[in-house]
Symmetry: C2
Subunit: 478 residues, 2 copies
């Protein structure tokens, strides 16, 4: 028990220092290690297994909707990056530049891709000729580089993993529908598989992606009330197509520019999982992406038959779940703390008395509820308990978000809330970027999104008093 | 039929111009597109789907042997690359250098990883302390960059995809066993799943990996008699561990350096598949990695019931196979040629007469053999025919390799064969690098490997006449 105590004490409680609590978890749950490369991390096996589960889940969803995977170069020649004006202005200040290949200086420098719109457009301009070639529904899993000054594991790093979907369509309507569809895919994945409630909405012009006509976003609320942008989907109109001269013959045989989208979700979401579900005992993982869904811990392991039974259960359960049997010589107390730290959704304990009774104990990570389960119905009981975990952590997160979402009718109200109450603030806005900038300056909040589910709190802008255009979620963000 | 003819004529026959035949296939089977980035390619959906199947197959094999996936940074600081002397000499001349981040010049330049030994060692030096931390069985799927002057799709490109396994062990014996085990995994995958016969063996000192004590390799023979190195596995001893100060307390509580391996297989193998199995009608894909295993072509598609039956078959077969139904308005002749070009192992034809008889036709891509199959046993028949394809293309490749492998007892014999007969030459070697260099100079061949299956052709070196140490496969290589 000394060991267990030592481990639990080693995490800074989130109430004391939230940032420290976060980094304690990423290190102690063995998700990542700092590397010798500034701002780049090593994703360790346990962290990478979470990302593999996220990837496989999303990839299946994308493919079911007709998307296919491709691979673009990791470099972008400077001249290609510069073709779309807004895009280059947004990204050029934060890219890494390759200037030498081997011993020679390059004639044109190359940036390491910060995102791949320009590469996809360059390819599309060569392969799209007729409406019969459309739609193009391409996606890529890769890592990208943005030269960030301040970095934090998973939340903001110089290199990060993501997927980027890039699609081309005959009409604006079709492209808009794709943009919305992919946002729904992200929202459904977050809410149903990651158990993270999200607000779906539109970014303001100030916050949208460089080069986009519209950016849709899902915003999640973390433990500390800050927002995390969990996934975005962009509608580009035909701006990029014009800049890159992508032209197709339409059904009337007239030349047209196709309409374009892109959408992405990144390893950042792992930070979102930690800060939505984690607690002072460590990580809490949603079953859909947990590398280990059930950890089997034999109790009084050296008593006759215990290890045999535990091994038998592992062999049986691995057909249906991701299971791990810990038959190491560590004490049960150490093991309890260890797998709580790693956020394993269910702990299965089996000892001599359980074996006598033909049962085992299932303990849920998030609320430590115990249930005694007959071995014969074990698979059904585990399925039920995993669903209970999913539902439980989703509702806990939803309740927290609701209790930390406030309404402001006036600037004074908004300032008072922003200063004293972490969370989201719902307030009306006129649509003017000047007001958005003022709110940032005066209250320290930025617009998170104009949610699809609008409410009319007042009919005037909380800042300038002019006619309101939309309700906005305001808040501090990662 | 005009369309079909056009397509088939569009490939250069391999007898006429092998290099052109190869690039015709990669383009016309839509495996890749050239990009605006020198030496980097766009892997198109059909090509990338082959790579995904290769990846999933290998990844499963690695994980079954206890390996786990991680992600290392894509950059290596110059000082880190320089830590192991042989390694930096081998790679520094061919890396891409990042010198600027955003608008600032970096204090230390970073190379884009050409391989990640140095990054793994840097990480291992932080996390390995005790024999209890060993073995470390890590693998990474990523892309790497080598600043090659002349590039060819899949075979040699500036950026390419691969996996790189990096393992650490308590003892030299254990590390050597791992090196051999992983070579066997590659060989088994190539022979059984890709149907590519390979020679397993050891590289000479001249040809081994920069920094390795020993490099094991599998070498395949292409249509034109040239060798393709299909996968390599390296034993490092404790050289890197010393250079990177990786130390662990052994079971006697004494400090030790662990022993290390690395092993990799890349997208190059896609080039190997093309040049082993392809023919003058296009690609021929081994069923295990074919994105489409069975293409369903409805004949007289607009006759009543045909399309319905074809759709019903697709829905039924997709539970067991990767199937595609082509219900486009293109002619059957065009479709036949198209899916031959794409190397789909089996074509399933179904028309009004077949439906009447309750049957369909299966046509094998590689030998165009037709079988009529009752619909009720279709799954079993397809499984059998896919196995027939695998066996058929393997044996064809093996026969070719055997018929193109020669034995030379003297230098004159070797020169005569090297000049006139493409293929492998088996000849004895004394172990001296000078003789290896002489053979390159005089006969234009390099040592491919010292095969594990040795024969004693003579007892003296084919070059210098001194006592022979090993039989070597000599040849020209990609």
């Amino acid at each position: 028990m000394a060991e267990q105590k030592k481990m639990v004490e080693a995490i800074t409680p989130m109430e004391e220092d939230f940032a420290k609590w976060y980094t304690d978890i990423v290190k102690k749950a063995e998700l990542m290690d700092y590397s010798s490369v500034r701002g780049c991390m090593v994703i360790e096996p346990y962290g990478y297994a979470i990302w593999e589960n996220i990837r496989d889940n999303l990839d299946k969803r994308f493919k079911e909707l007709g998307h296919v995977n491709v691979s673009m170069p990791m470099f972008i020649p400077e001249s290609l990056l510069q073709k779309e004006k807004d895009h280059v202005e947004g990204f050029a200040p934060e890219v890494a530049w390759v200037t030498h290949g081997g011993t020679e200086e390059l004639q044109e420098r190359l940036c390491v891709r910060p995102t791949s719109e320009t590469l996809f457009c360059d390819h599309y301009s060569r392969i799209v000729h007729s409406w019969r070639d459309l739609p193009k529904l391409y996606n890529q899993w890769c890592s990208v580089v943005r030269w960030e000054k301040t970095t934090r594991p998973f939340l903001r790093s110089v290199e990060f993993h993501w997927q980027e979907g890039h699609t081309l369509h005959e009409t604006a309507e079709e492209a808009r529908a794709e943009t919305e569809q992919m946002l729904k895919v992200y929202a459904d994945f977050c809410e149903n598989d990651l158990a993270i409630p999200v607000a779906k909405g539109c970014k303001t012009d100030k916050e949208k992606f460089a080069g986009a006509e519209a950016t849709y976003t899902i915003e999640a609320m973390m433990h500390d009330g800050k927002a995390l942008q969990a996934g975005t989907s962009h509608y580009f109109g035909d701006g990029f197509a014009k800049a890159f001269d992508i032209t197709f013959q339409d059904r009337e045989n007239k030349p047209q520019h196709p309409h374009q989208t892109s959408w992405g979700m990144s390893t950042r979401i792992i930070g979102g999982i930690i800060m939505t579900h984690g607690d002072n005992n460590g990580l809490v993982l949603p079953p859909a992406v947990a590398p280990i869904q059930v950890v089997i811990l034999p109790i009084a392991m050296h008593k006759e038959g215990v290890l045999e039974k535990a091994t038998e259960l592992k062999e049986r359960l691995k057909k249906s779940f991701r299971v791990h049997l810990d038959d190491s010589e560590q004490s049960p107390g150490w093991k309890f703390a260890q797998y709580e730290m790693k956020g394993v959704p269910l702990r299965l304990e089996i000892g001599p008395k359980d074996i006598e009774k033909g049962q085992c104990v299932l303990v849920r990570r998030h609320d430590r509820e115990k249930v005694f389960v007959p071995l014969e119905n074990l698979e059904a009981a585990i399925t039920e308990q995993l669903e209970e975990v999913r539902r439980g952590i989703y509702e806990r997160a939803l309740e927290r978000r609701e209790s930390m979402t406030y309404t402001a009718k006036t600037m004074d109200e908004l300032k008072e809330i922003a200063e004293n109450k972490p969370g989201f603030i719902k307030a009306m806005w006129c649509g003017d970027t000047a007001c958005e900038e003022k709110l940032k300056e005066v209250a320290g909040v930025s617009s998170r999104c104009m949610p699809f589910e609008q409410e009319e709190i007042t009919d005037t802008c909380v800042c300038c008093g002019k006619k309101a255009k939309a309700m906005v979620y305001w808040g501090k963000a990662y």
